[in-house]
């Protein structure tokens, strides 16, 4: 046992060393978040101001709304994107024709690569007053809706278009995990007379349950990242109320240009929250499901 333990330590070494240099060591720079940063004085000699920068953030009058938007949009995105990716992976797994399987798989992950600068224009056109969507609902006698100007619809559009962009890419992990299920289980089940649907429920899902839980948890780290590039390209003043998130506020306030320490403080705060979420979910899973996610 001891001998193999040393081998394991050796295997970990390269990664740990690189992380120490490029991830842990630079974290000293977080001190900027606690200073009145002056580039000329540098991070060691700039004036120390304690929690001032953090206090500023909480003094932003609409901070509660902005935070709420950020979290609710992020959570909805996580749930729906992972859910759609999972369902899509399950559906694709059932497809028998090899050619279609591979072609479809390749096509659906392409939107992941299209930047929101372009997608924004496409989405705006589709949901515009005389766009496709309004044409379709017009056929049912519904009056045109200004989707991108409505605080009730906007979050939904953010989530929906984000799902559409990411489900293909997100499905890849599930597809890989699906290959790990023993085929003989399916054969046994079909001999027992289980329907395809039942097989999915009782064999497939449990077979990749660890992956599902893992993905949920890994996505939790993005709970405060509701997707700034997308929001910046889609939002407008009419939907600030429901669409303004932490990153877009920071952008409008020009923090990155003018006050680097504030941007750093925001980043630090986000990391702390992510960390808490991850730790919480780990311990909950441990206590209640007796399962250590990692």
């Amino acid at each position: 046992m001891k001998k193999s333990s040393i081998s394991y330590h050796i295997m970990m070494m390269p990664a740990i060393i690189l992380l120490a240099i490029f991830a842990i060591y630079p974290m000293i720079g977080s001190i900027i978040a606690f200073e009145n940063y002056n580039p000329v004085k540098g991070m060691w000699h700039s004036q120390f101001v304690g929690l001032e920068n953090f206090k500023y953030m909480f003094q932003i009058p609409e901070i509660k709304q902005v935070l709420y938007n950020t979290v609710s949009i992020a959570v909805m995105k996580i749930i729906f994107t992972e859910g759609s990716a999972l369902i899509f992976a399950l559906l694709l797994n059932e497809l028998k024709n090899r050619f279609f399987k591979r072609t479809i798989q390749t096509i659906v992950y392409l939107p992941h690569f299209i930047s929101w600068v372009l997608l924004g224009g496409i989405v705006a056109n589709i949901f515009s007053l005389d766009g496709i969507v309004n044409h379709i609902i017009g056929m049912f006698g519904v009056k045109p809706i200004m989707f991108l100007g409505s605080n009730s619809w906007f979050p939904g559009i953010l989530v929906g278009t984000s799902v559409w962009q990411e489900f293909g890419f997100g499905a890849i992990i599930y597809l890989a995990a699906l290959t790990g299920i023993d085929p003989s289980l399916y054969e046994a089940a079909s001999i027992d007379g289980a329907s395809r649907f039942k097989q999915i429920i009782s064999i497939t899902l449990p077979g990749i349950s660890t992956t599902i839980v893992l993905m949920m948890m890994l996505n939790l780290q993005n709970i405060l990242n509701a997707g700034s590039e997308q929001v910046l390209n889609l939002y407008n003043p009419m939907v600030y109320k429901s669409g303004d998130i932490i990153d877009t506020y920071v952008y409008r306030a020009g923090l990155k240009e003018l006050q680097y320490e504030l941007a750093t403080a925001v980043g630090l705060l986000k990391s702390v929250v992510s960390f808490i979420m991850v730790v919480l979910s780990y311990f909950l899973a441990d206590k209640f499901a007796n399962y250590r996610i990692f």
Binding site: M1, K3, S4, S5, S7, Y8, M11, M12, P14, A15, L18, L19, I21, F22, A23, P26, M27, I28, G29, S30, I32, M43, L91, L92, E94, K96, F100, R102, I104, Q105, T106, I107, Y109, L110, P111, I114, S115, V117, L118, N125, W164, I172, I173, L175, A176, A177, T179, G180, P183, R196, F197, T210, T211, Q221, T264, G267, L268, S271, V278, F294
Partner: protein
């Protein structure tokens, strides 16, 4: 004897139809972008381009490819992917394996795990990282693009999870045969994990290929830029600007009316990924043969 179903059932048909519809919806913007990239820019501005190019022209592509830096940056990105992904692959495998061991086998495994999680969640930002790279004299070298992201914690966790799900019987058999950790990793675990390996490789390739910001801050000369950094610069289609126009006005004009160049840029970057993915797809086959594990 397994019962082989030869006919397609209603279930199959429904699934097929659903999948095809989803695919078409996802495919439409790509088709649109292709059409835009080959269209006349004023036609695009008027919004009359949908599925087919209007007044077809290669102008957008010509402006993107027009100087040699396009090709050098392409080469830089290819080299970066080859080097960076190899490093990523080695580190992912080397790190995921020990972490997939139980705490009883590998004391300290939990500590390492939490260290990795910590580095995945916390980052001090661009400036401190820049200083670090600078003090190591790595500025303007390929290493600056490849080392800071050398340890892909997300991928490691994914692979680790996959390893953990492999049958315990494998371990037991190997131990009985007297196999050490290296043998287990290289001769047993790796061959069994092709789908997961293909997955993390894909993520690594995409990550390196699409990355532009590090190229921007660490590299100093145009012929060291990776492709996306090069493309990220403003590229105007033709000299339509007046003598006495400020840079800001020029940029405003470009943004106002030229989607063709943007589309061309995105499509050009997509092509290599389109080639890599099908290549990796063949590893997504139902993999585990339990023939090696007999009770």
């Amino acid at each position: 004897m397994a019962y082989k179903r030869k006919r397609y059932t209603l279930f199959d048909i429904i699934i097929f139809v659903v999948l095809i519809s989803i695919t078409l919806i996802t495919f439409f913007p790509v088709v649109y972008m292709v059409a835009v990239s080959f269209s006349d820019k004023s036609a695009v501005a008027a919004g009359i381009v949908t599925v087919f190019p209007v007044k077809p022209t290669l102008a957008a592509y010509k402006s993107v490819i027009k100087d040699n830096y396009f090709f050098t940056s392409f080469g830089v990105s290819v080299r970066r992917v080859l080097l960076g992904c190899s490093i990523n692959f080695a580190l992912t495998v080397l790190t995921a394996f020990p972490l997939s061991r139980r705490d009883s086998e590998f004391k300290g495994r939990n500590v390492y795990m939490w260290i990795l999680i910590f580095t995945m969640l916390f980052s001090a930002g661009m400036i401190p990282l820049y200083f670090t790279v600078k003090s190591l004299h790595l500025l303007d070298t390929m290493w600056a693009l490849v080392l800071p992201g050398a340890v892909p914690v997300f991928n490691i966790i994914v692979l680790m999870n996959f390893f953990r799900n492999l049958p315990k019987a494998l371990d037991e058999a190997a131990v009985i045969d007297g196999a050490g950790p290296w043998y287990m990793l290289l001769k047993i675990y790796l061959p069994m994990s092709l789908p997961a390996l293909a997955t993390v490789t894909l993520f690594s390739v995409v990550g390196h290929w699409n990355s532009f910001f590090d190229g921007l801050i660490y590299m100093k000369t145009q012929n060291h830029y990776p492709l996306q950094t090069y493309l990220n610069q403003t590229i105007i289609q033709y000299s339509m600007v007046s003598k006495n126009m400020t840079k800001e006005e020029i940029e405003r004009l470009t943004k106002l009316s030229d989607k063709t160049v943007n589309s061309a840029k995105i499509l050009i970057s997509m092509i290599p990924i389109l080639l890599v993915y099908p290549f990796l797809q063949r590893y997504f086959i139902t993999g585990i043969t339990l023939g090696s594990v007999k009770e």
